[in-house]
Amino acid sequence: MSETTSTPEEGVTPQRISGTLPIEARTVFRLSSSIFYIIGLLVTGALVAAAYWFDWPTWLQISFIVLLVIDVVYSLIDLIWFQKWKQERFTYDVQPLEIRIHHGIITTHDVLIPMTKVQYVHAAQGPILRKFGLQTITIGTAAGSHEIYAIEESFAKTLREQIAIYARIEEEDVV
């Protein structure tokens, strides 16, 4: 019994929604990750300051400075390139029978979810996303969930509805 490629039902034109993330997503990623980097810099900075202030052993001072330098360099690289690539390299492809998500910078991920396995679609919006009028969509299956980050609000709504229709997520219970 192999899976038959069933054609979508009457009326619904087979429609394919695919794309990448909008350019604003980059800013959103940068803003939200910079919060962590600022905290990280504050902590390592405090460690370096404490090491000098209290005259901790030299090897400790040196290792804290090294840590601070690594932190600064990594934060910059991440903010300038990684977040950009994260936005550029994220692609999604929603078809009537399946969803594919491709993402990742250093390690690439290629996810394939059949529509029949989709159990729910959520949309979420944090304060930063709201400022830019973006939403994140979460697609959940019994085996976990996947996110399509930071897409434009009204588009997110249509995409979410489209997935719900394709996946035939309905409110009523099976009797």
Partner: protein, 499 residues
């Protein structure tokens, strides 16, 4: 639905005794500490803590009493109703047709009082979706199971039209489904499993640690040094006897544990459900409906592999309960050929292939090239702090490298038009088999290093929760893409792929 007078049942009154025993059991350690070992009522603090403990105990017992008093259940032919809660009355009703399986569990105290604990499981994943009767008489348990059996039959008959494949073999009858014994574990198998358990060898480091720490604490005036002296000066024969003695002891301990855990192990098939019963003191019975089976996993440990002993597990969709205990183990340690026979006969919806593909040679290269952070950090620590033991690092690296070579040798996979079968692991090998309709998603990952070698990691998930995720490392990119294409509902997937 129908408001006919329901007969409400309480759990039998001896369950109350059981609850009180359980409370006492849970307070056992503080009670022994405070009233037996160190029973002094002199200091204020001592009095407060003892009175406090007694108060808590009393409170718990009272709470258990009302818990028992307020728990009632009833059922008509369609629904089961439960009322419970001391402060907050909670009424639950659950349609019987939703109940997928019944697990019975009888821990030692339950058996002492002649009751069993029944858990009714539904398909849903939430906590509310299952309920427990913690302590009913076996006759009542049987009655409930029979009612459920009837409901299931009605449902099956109604669904008979939909059922395409499976019902051909076993036509639904009104008569009760016969139980077929698929496998009963023999004493010999348990003994053999205990002998081949790796934990046999764990006793040496454990024993030497215990002895040396005792020696540190209580200065036995080198009593153990004397023993050591004796051992060092003793002849090979004596040492040999000693080693054998210690090994025997650990085998016996392992055997006792295995007997308690797997004693009287029975694997049965009841119609479209699999039933696993096991345990000597704590006896449990678990049912898994066939349609909930998502995948089958065969496990072979390093030593048991030489004896062709395997363990078979079912990955089943269900409640979180199934994640924490390993009762989805349908065969704990059975000879490979016998296990395969059971699988072929009774789990024929999953077909095992014999010829699997090996990894390409470059996969060995990538496995050896990966940095072993564990090895490096451990080596660093040893070289810095315990330089005398540095040569043990050779063994460490031999194990690390050996493990990688083994992982290259053992990793195999095959994809037929319906099934995916993976064999992974290094020292312990596990085989995984599932079919396309049951796979929830496939994820292909490729790290920087893997991209260099044109290799991929593929992750398969079914709906059995975290335990159901199976990963295969370092298979060729082309194979990974072929798996995606195989899994895809569209044929032209390869053209649309963006690199």
């Amino acid at each position: 639905m129908t408001e006919t007078a329901l007969t409400w049942h309480r759990l039998p009154s001896r369950v109350l005794v059981l609850r009180i025993l359980e409370v006492i059991k849970s307070f056992a350690i503080p009670i022994v500490l405070l009233f037996v070992l160190n029973n002094d009522w002199d200091s204020t603090f001592g009095i407060i803590i003892r009175v406090g403990i007694l108060l808590f105990l009393l409170l718990d017992v009272v709470q258990k009493f009302f818990g028992w008093l307020n728990f009632r259940y009833a059922l008509d032919e369609k629904t089961v109703y439960v009322i419970e809660g001391n402060w907050l009355k909670k009424e639950k009703s659950l349609p019987l047709y939703k109940i997928q399986s019944v697990h019975s569990n009888s821990p030692f105290l339950y058996r002492l009082l002649g009751v069993v604990e029944l858990t009714f499981d539904t398909n849903a994943n939430s906590d509310d979706a299952s309920f427990k009767l913690a302590g009913v008489f076996p006759t009542e348990a049987k009655r409930l199971e029979e009612i459920l059996e009837q409901v299931r039959h009605r449902k099956q008959n109604a669904q008979a039209v939909d059922d395409s494949e499976e019902s051909d073999e076993t036509p639904a009858q009104a008569a009760p489904v016969p139980t077929r014994l698929l496998y009963a574990l023999s004493t010999r198998e348990i003994v053999l499993a205990s002998v081949t358990s790796l934990s046999v060898f764990a006793i040496f480091p454990v024993a030497s640690t215990i002895i040396s720490s005792i020696d540190d604490f209580i200065n036995l005036d080198g009593a153990f040094n004397q023993v050591e002296d004796y051992v060092v000066h003793a002849s090979i024969i004596v040492i040999g006897l000693l080693v054998i003695g210690v090994l025997m002891l650990s085998v016996v301990i392992g055997m006792i544990i295995n007997f308690l855990k797997y004693g009287n192990f029975r694997l049965e098939r009841r119609g479209e459900r699999i039933r696993v019963e096991k345990g000597l003191l704590n006896r449990s019975a678990k049912e898994i409906p066939y349609e909930k089976i998502q995948a089958i996993r065969i496990k072979e440990t390093f030593i048991r592999r030489w004896f062709h002993i395997v363990g078979v597990e079912l990955v089943a969709a269900g409640t979180m309960d199934e994640l924490k205990d390993e009762s989805s183990t349908i065969l704990p340690f059975v000879r490979r050929d016998r296990a395969m026979r059971v699988l072929r006969e009774h789990f024929s919806q999953f077909t095992w292939s014999d010829d699997l593909h090996r990894l390409p040679r470059r996969a060995l290269g990538i496995k050896l090239m990966r940095i072993s952070w564990f090895g490096i950090i451990l080596s660093g620590l040893v070289l810095y702090f315990f330089r005398d033991y540095a040569w043990w690092l050779l063994l460490l690296w031999a194990i690390i490298i050996g493990g990688r070579v083994l992982s290259f040798v053992t990793t195999k996979y095959v994809r037929t038009d319906r099934f995916i079968q993976l064999r992974t692991g290094a020292f312990n090998v596990r085989s995984f088999l599932t079919d396309k309709p049951r796979i929830e998603q496939i994820q292909v990952k490729q790290s920087l290093l893997q991209r260099r070698f044109g290799l991929c990691t593929v992750q398969f998930s079914t709906r059995g929760g975290i335990l159901s995720i199976e990963v295969i490392d370092d298979i060729p990119k082309s194979e990974a893409d072929a798996m995606l294409a195989w899994f895809s509902r569209y044929d032209e997937i390869n053209e649309n792929r963006s690199g």
